[in-house]
Amino acid sequence: MAEVQALVNELATKLRKRKVEGSRETARLTAELLRTVISQQRVTSAALVEVVRDVGQQLIAANPVELAVGNIVRRVLRIIRDGDLSPEVGGLTLVSQGDDGDIVEEDDKPFLLSDAISQTILHPPSLVAQLESKPNLVCHFEGKAADKTPSSWQFKHQIIEGVNDLIEDINTCHELIADQSLELIHQNEVILTLGHSRTVKKFLYAAKEKKRSFQVYVAEGAPKHLGHVLANELTEKHLQTTVIPDSSVFAMISRVNMVIVGVHAVMANGGVIAPVGMNMVALAAKRHAVPFVVVGGTHKLCPLFPNNPEVLLNDMRCPSELLSFGDFSDCMDFSVGSGAALLHVVNPAFDYVPPELVSLFVTEIGGYHPSYIYRLISDYYSADDIVLQQKPAS
């Protein structure tokens, strides 16, 4: 248990010190950590939910802006709850658990049950995997020593399998998304993107490899200018690439056929948290009726609603990305009497793009309209887990 805590602390420290950044990387690390946590636990079902929730809270507190952490924790919790449900009596036990809780949860019950039904219908990856793996497990189990009850052992194995699938999903989401590139990118089209996103890069590569010929405009993505990096990488693949400053996006948008961008997170209302400058691109696209397509894995899907996103879901980076400290100090003047600096440099990392500006989400499970995001969220997350921060009153 102590080693597990050490691992949790290590990841929390990395998150806190911003040594791990990017939603895919954090999602993968979180899922792997939770897998270790679960495999080290001897307890089952409800207790496991508590443990995972605890770990999740620590990780989320370490960097609240990295929403992927919370998403993965919720996904894992859902897997645990599903594992509890999958035996025939499971549905009943869960309901009885709900009875122990608050009266408020009365409302959730029918929702939960309908969720469980929709799960089986909509073939989410975790459940499919469970069903497939079950026979093997049973055979495997018969040869083992019986120090654990068969159901708990099987239950845990199912969960670990589920988490493994989740990790697999995270690892392969780029390829699955890229597979859909031909449906979206057509011959001789002009694509505009902003900054650098690995998902977008793979998406464009895939289209190029499949012999589509198209042009890419890359807005440089100030202040980090990662667009330059993307442009370099695209030209290596012999793609016709043009780098433009962020400020000329509006001027160029009329000759663009489609905007394809990567994002930081997709919120429950279909709005997105994206690298700074994205809102401007989306507005320009809307003005000229250019489709604004967001590509991203389902691990970016966040069940929270954006409340005051400019402030609460933002990260104020170091101003030295905009202005070197030497230049800044040149602007400082000793004759300023009040003591408060007259020059402030603010460097927010993210922009919020409201759902009405987004035309399409392309995820590894297909393309969706922003208004459909709420369905995906109810598929992937249990309603009990949406608020992780405060523990239930019980």
Binding site: K19, R317, C318, F334, S338, G339
Partner: protein, 724 residues
Amino acid sequence: MGAQKKGASRASEDPEELARLPLQAILLADSFTTKFRPITLERPKVLLPLVNAPMISYTLAWLESAGVEEVFVVCCAHSKQVISYLENSEWFSQPNFTVTTIESHDSVSAGDALRVIYERNVIHGDFVLISGDTVSNMSLTQVLQEHKERRKKDSNAAMTIVIKRSKPSQIIHQCQLGTDVLFMAIDPNTKQLLYYEDNADHAKGSIYIDKLLLADKSSISLHNDKQDCYIDICSPEVLSLFTDNFDYHHLRCHFLKGLLVDDIMGYKIFTHEIHSTYAARIDNFRSYDTISRDIIQRWAYPLVPDVKFFRDSSTKLERQGMYLVSELGQSRSAQIGPFTVIGNGTKIGDNTKISNSVIGDGCSIGPNVSIEGSYIWDNVTIEDGCKIRHAIVCDGVIMKSGAVLEPGVVLSFKVFLILLFLQVVIGQQFIAPSYLMVSLLQQPIKQNSDEKLEYVDNSTGNAEISSLTHALDISNGEIANQQQETQCWATSELGIGGAGYVWSICEGGHDEGWRHSVAPIPTEKLAEVIQAAEDDHDGSLPTSDSDSDEEPRDDSYFENEVEATFLRAVDENIKVENVVLEVNSLRLSYNKQTANCAGAVFYSMIKLALESPHNSAGELVQALMKVITKWKGLLKYYLSDIDEEIEVIMKFEDMCLESAKEFSPVFDKILYQLYDHTIIREEAILRWDDEKRDADASDRIFVRQAEDFIQWLREASEEEDEEE
């Protein structure tokens, strides 16, 4: 992890070297200066909170994130406190990061501390030498790489110092951090440091560089816009150099300059300039202010309050750079302005305004308080109506209602201020004048310039505090008396019932208070300095050095202040004791002698008499004597010594020549009156006469005028002698 990544990337070049040597750092948990006194008498500088986290935690966090694996913390002053902080913090339990404390009680300088390290024999390779008050987010990868490459080519490359660009002010010859302008000569090709001067004589306006430097090098670039970050990458030889040269104390004054002039050993020092990243060292109160603001404006990202680098606080960044905790006890009508940090569990009352400030944990701030540009540490109580501007208020200070802190005030731990004069009729509130420092510990009275370091007597510091507070609670008057005996300032300076000693700002050869204070430099000061500089350029004052020519200007300021105080006292009929207190506090803030006070008080009396209606010289004398008899107590307070009496006579003389010519015909009469009222004793008059004897005629007008009187005095004293 950075360390691992770096290890991996460099492993290809020299794997065997890297496998054996983890990157080490020496952290000096002591600045070996007294600039943060009186605060540092009670707590070591590295534990002082900088935006609500101890300074040392910034340094350690940076070392850890920069990939340093082993840190030796050298604790000198208050070593127990530093060690117990580190033990209770998480720094001992980090993976891939070991912190070892080394205690050294007899080290009085950085040189001594490094000698201790050398004796321990723990440093095996290149190491980072840093002081525990440095804030940085620079990456060490590049500078280490450069250093190692240089070492391969030239084993004499002993040290690489990190510098950054920072424009100094041309007016006051100091940079934003409040340190003096640094002059450096660097070889632009090799980045070798050739010349380093951090306390050049600005009055002369020139520096001298050995022409041999120019002989060897094809080019030299001279900089005055660089700032030393005090982050050094050192080779192991540095430690042995310190051991060989036992007179090396200061890292820059002795060691660095020593290496630069020493051409026998041939050690070389190189520079590394950082551009986009941040590094700065807290040297004095001004840099404390500047660096705090830089942190709040996120230049030190990710070392910012909301990133939770050090502790689990729920600080959130709101619009306009406000860092607020989630459970803030804030009144609805309180206005919290931009660039403000509020700590955990702090309560803020109605209509209170806070801007550009840092408030610590657990403070309670009453209604109608205004706080601007100040640093309030933990558990401070500020009652209603207080005004605080550009001040530092340490842990546990209690400020009673209505107290006002002017810019630059420093209140050390647990100072108790009831800044209300009860006797004053209209309830006039106490105003702590600019640059005042108050501490519960007494200022050491006289110090040798040699032992300007603080920690010899410090081990007993804590015990003293408790006993002192106790004593103060019981009998204020008694303590006050004691202090008067020891030439220190009575506790009643802080209002009746207040506790604490007032420190005079400038001890030793330190610069004037405003240079290093937290407060921004007042515009008048700037104007003054510009004026002084212009005068220097004109050459109208060819021989005077900058110090002596600033004084008269300061004098007139001081006199005006005293005059205003005095006039108010006359108008409002304030008691003499209270006027004495106010004048004393002015005296402290302007760093004046008692003689100056006497002069200034006399000056204001004459001014008053001059303004009263009068028709003839006789009436004028009468008016003056009326004023003087009334305020005799005040004047007498400052005339305890012959020198001060002479000062008064001289002052009077000056005034008769310049501002109050009406008095010149009656000079002798007034002198007689002063003698008659026993304000000035005969010795003083005779001494004045003696002093003036050799002066030229124009200076002796008044001596001649008073000749008869002096003659009479001499005869009288001779008679007395004869009688005896």
